[in-house]
């Protein structure tokens, strides 16, 4: 009985291993996917504004199965009550991203509270329903100053909005991140809060810069309820440059091999070949002894 059970176990195991998970047909029907249509805006360091939509289809059962919606035309509007001003349109990339950049001097319709209302709209297709998303932000201005005050490298950020008359109103409170630019991504060096429109931070010593010691300092407000994303940045010669990066050359591309390689190879070969010679020498001794025995027998 035990053996029968074991046999069945092995059989089941083997059959299980033969099942090709890749061969099961994927259910790519749109109805199995939920559309994720996310719209956000970022005010960039040159005061231009980026409007961006991420359009992704996510499997209802397998949340890891995400397919970007490609080539979908997204229209971006500035809306106020019944008015809709088309700001531009863009098609989604292979990553499912559609974006447009509005220049610094772009005129917006704003409501009584100073909010700019944006709408992103996808009008749908035969297979997909229409999608839209709206966001409202105030036009925030960030002024980033990098100065040495009493020999202390100081980062000062001023945050304000302008009313219709151009009068500055300081931001009461907002979280801010100070980061420095790196080769692959930004490195956060401080997270703080703007209070009464100002934030001050003592820049640390010893942050690596480029060859000339220059580095880029970023002041970033992220996902703020009133202002969305706002980025300001400036370059300054506050970085350090310790040493020049010396590229290691491949040692084995040299004409001559490293000494240790010759030594190891020689030891190995001498060891092996000495044994061969020793063996052959003994074979000759055996032969000699045989000849001697033959002669003795003949005599």
């Amino acid at each position: 009985m035990k053996i029968t059970n074991s046999r069945y176990s092995v059989l089941i195991l083997l059959v299980g291993l033969f099942i090709n998970t890749n061969s099961i047909a994927q259910e790519n029907d749109v109805s199995n996917y939920r559309m994720l249509f996310n719209f956000n805006t970022t005010k960039q360091h040159d005061n231009s504004r980026l409007l961006e939509v991420s359009f992704i289809a996510r499997n209802k059962k397998d949340r890891k199965d995400k397919i970007p919606v490609y080539d979908a035309e997204i229209k971006f509007f500035n809306i106020l009550n019944e008015d809709e001003v088309l700001l531009g349109a863009s098609k989604t990339s292979q990553e499912g991203i559609a974006r447009i950049t509005l220049p610094e001097n772009q005129q917006y319709l704003t409501d009584d509270d100073g909010y700019i209302n944006f709408k992103a709209y996808f009008e749908g297709s035969d297979a997909m329903d229409e999608e839209e998303d709206e966001i409202s932000v105030k036009n925030l201005f960030l002024e980033l100053n990098l100065e040495e005050i009493d020999s202390v490298k100081t980062v000062t950020v001023e945050a304000f909005v302008l009313d219709s008359l151009g009068v500055k109103t300081a931001v009461e409170e907002a979280d801010i991140i100070i980061s420095v630019g790196g080769m692959l991504s930004n490195m956060n060096i401080e997270e703080g809060t703007i209070e009464a429109g100002e934030f001050e931070y003592e820049f640390p010593i010893g942050i690596p810069g480029d060859v000339n010691g220059d580095l880029t300092v970023n002041a970033i407000i992220e996902d703020h309820d009133e202002f969305g994303n706002v980025i300001q940045k400036k370059s300054v010669n506050w970085g350090v440059f310790d040493r020049e990066f010396v590229e290691e050359s491949n040692k084995l591309w040299s004409e001559v091999a490293p000494i240790w390689m010759y030594v190891v190879l020689t030891i190995l070969l001498v060891g092996v070949w000495s044994n061969y010679i020793y063996t052959i020498r003994n074979l000759f001794k055996i032969k000699k002894e045989g000849k001697k025995l033959d002669l003795e027998t003949e005599n």
């Binding site: 033969f18 091999a257 044994n275 055996i286 032969k287």
Partner: protein, 446 residues
């Protein structure tokens, strides 16, 4: 019994196997020669037309020739390793299998390197390898290792043959003159005196220890040819031990198959017994578990690392080569384990079947190491013709591959015509030892 009389009896027992030729044997030899002849035709075509006659192109520069090379060379190294272990530790049942292992060792190291020559596009520049060797290149290490190993294996094989040549020289009757002369020349005056016996035993034992070490080094060098590159699928720190385990896996498999065929066709049931198969089967089981473990580790770490090129390689393996992957790494490992794990299944036939599956699985495993990696290069493939992107072997390559296998079998048969496959000297040694023990025992009783 007088050992000299026993020697004569043994020669009488084994002589028919070496001298008589049955119709079946002649047919087999004819078939093998025909396969080799076809291989020679394929070789001429390849030389005249270049590598265009093969499936190898700019990207997939290595095909089944290199797989056969690895397979045979690893077979030889594993043979050397096993023979060394059997001899050095004086394993009780070594006598029945030792010569089979030794012959496999030497023939594989002769046949294997021929395949690497077939991979070379410009054979006329072969001598450059020796004129301008780069000591820092694993290819140079491999050439040195193979040549050293070949000579070492030849010497070792010859050492184990000497006592049998001497027995055949002194006791053969009714054999052609050339055979007598050949045995006399090869026996180098060995008379089985205690002094000669001691010398021969000493150097054979030293050589057996040396070929174990040499096999490990040579195995590693062969693995480094692949693993010291940065190619996905090859650049692995466990490749050297993986190759050693894989080589032993195929080695034990081929030994079991050879034992089965020799036992069946030479009717040596009383020399090659079930116990030998069970012993070899258990060793195959242990190695199959190790091989499975290494294979899993190898692919698991590649999958887990999520490096782009490794993932591309795994995608190739799990799509285009899905069934080959299953046969090589699941069937080729799990079926032998399933058969050999249960005592009840350990019959001669089932153990041999497990060995055949293991050998075929391992050959395919080699194929999956070489070809899919070359089909997923770092740089985009320049020429997008299907035959440049994907490799498939041509009839030229298959003919030469089968010619190599045929040459291996043919040489095996020819060596068995020269000396008995069961070492007579080994049987004499065992009986001499028994007589010595009996003498000591009777003295003690008195």
């Amino acid at each position: 019994m007088d050992l000299n009389i026993r020697k004569r009896e043994l020669v009488k027992e084994f002589s028919p196997m070496m001298v008589r030729s049955s119709v079946t044997l002649k047919l087999w030899i004819g078939l093998l020669v025909a396969i080799i002849a076809l291989g020679l035709v394929a070789f001429v075509i390849q030389v005249l037309n270049g590598h265009e006659a093969t499936g190898m192109r700019d990207n997939v520069v290595w095909g089944i020739y290199i797989i056969n090379f690895i397979f045979f060379v690893c077979l030889s190294y594993s043979g050397a390793f096993i023979a060394g272990i059997l001899h050095f530790f004086n394993t009780p049942w070594k006598n029945s299998v030792l010569r089979i292992v030794e012959i496999i060792t030497v023939l594989s190291i002769i046949v294997g390197p021929i395949f690497i020559l077939l991979c070379i596009g410009r054979l006329d520049r072969l001598h450059y390898l020796f004129i301008y060797p780069r000591i820092q290149s694993p290819i140079t290490w491999d050439i040195i290792a193979i040549m050293t190993d070949l000579i070492g294996c030849f010497i070792y094989l010859y050492l184990t043959f000497i006592p049998d040549f001497a027995i055949l020289r002194d006791n053969s009757e009714d054999i052609p003159n050339w055979r007598k002369k050949l045995y006399k020349w090869l026996a180098i005056g060995y008379k089985d005196t205690p002094s000669q016996r001691e010398k021969l035993h000493k150097i054979t034992r030293t050589m057996s220890a040396m070929i174990i070490a040499m096999a490990i080094i040579a195995y590693s060098v062969l693995a480094w040819i692949f693993s010291l590159t940065v190619q996905p699928g090859w650049n692995s720190s466990i490749f050297a031990p993986y190759f050693i385990v894989a080589g032993l896996y195929s080695g034990v498999g081929v030994i079991i198959i050879a034992m089965f065929l020799i036992r069946k066709y030479l009717k040596l049931d009383h020399y090659i017994r079930k116990i030998h198969f069970v012993g070899a089967g258990v060793i195959l089981l242990v190695i199959s578990l190790l091989f499975g473990y290494f294979t899993f580790s190898e692919y698991f770490s590649r999958w887990f690392s999520h490096k782009v090129h490794d993932i591309n390689l795994l995608n190739t393996l799990f799509n285009r080569y899905f069934w080959l992957f299953i046969i090589a790494n699941y069937v080729g490992v799990l079926v032998p384990i399933a058969i050999l794990f249960f005592k009840k299944f350990r019959t001669i036939n089932s153990i041999t079947f497990a060995a055949v599956i293991a050998v075929l699985g391992l050959w395919l495993n080699r194929y999956l190491i070489v070809v899919p990696t070359l089909e997923t290069p770092y740089l985009p493939i320049q020429d997008t013709r299907p035959e440049f992107i994907q490799y498939s072997a041509t009839w030229i390559e298959w003919s030469l591959s089968f010619a190599g296998i045929a040459a291996f079998i043919l040489f095996f048969i020819l060596i068995m015509r020269l000396v008995p496959i069961i070492p007579m000297s080994g049987i004499i040694d065992i009986e001499r030892e028994q007589q010595r023990k009996t003498r000591i025992f009777s003295k003690k009783r008195k």
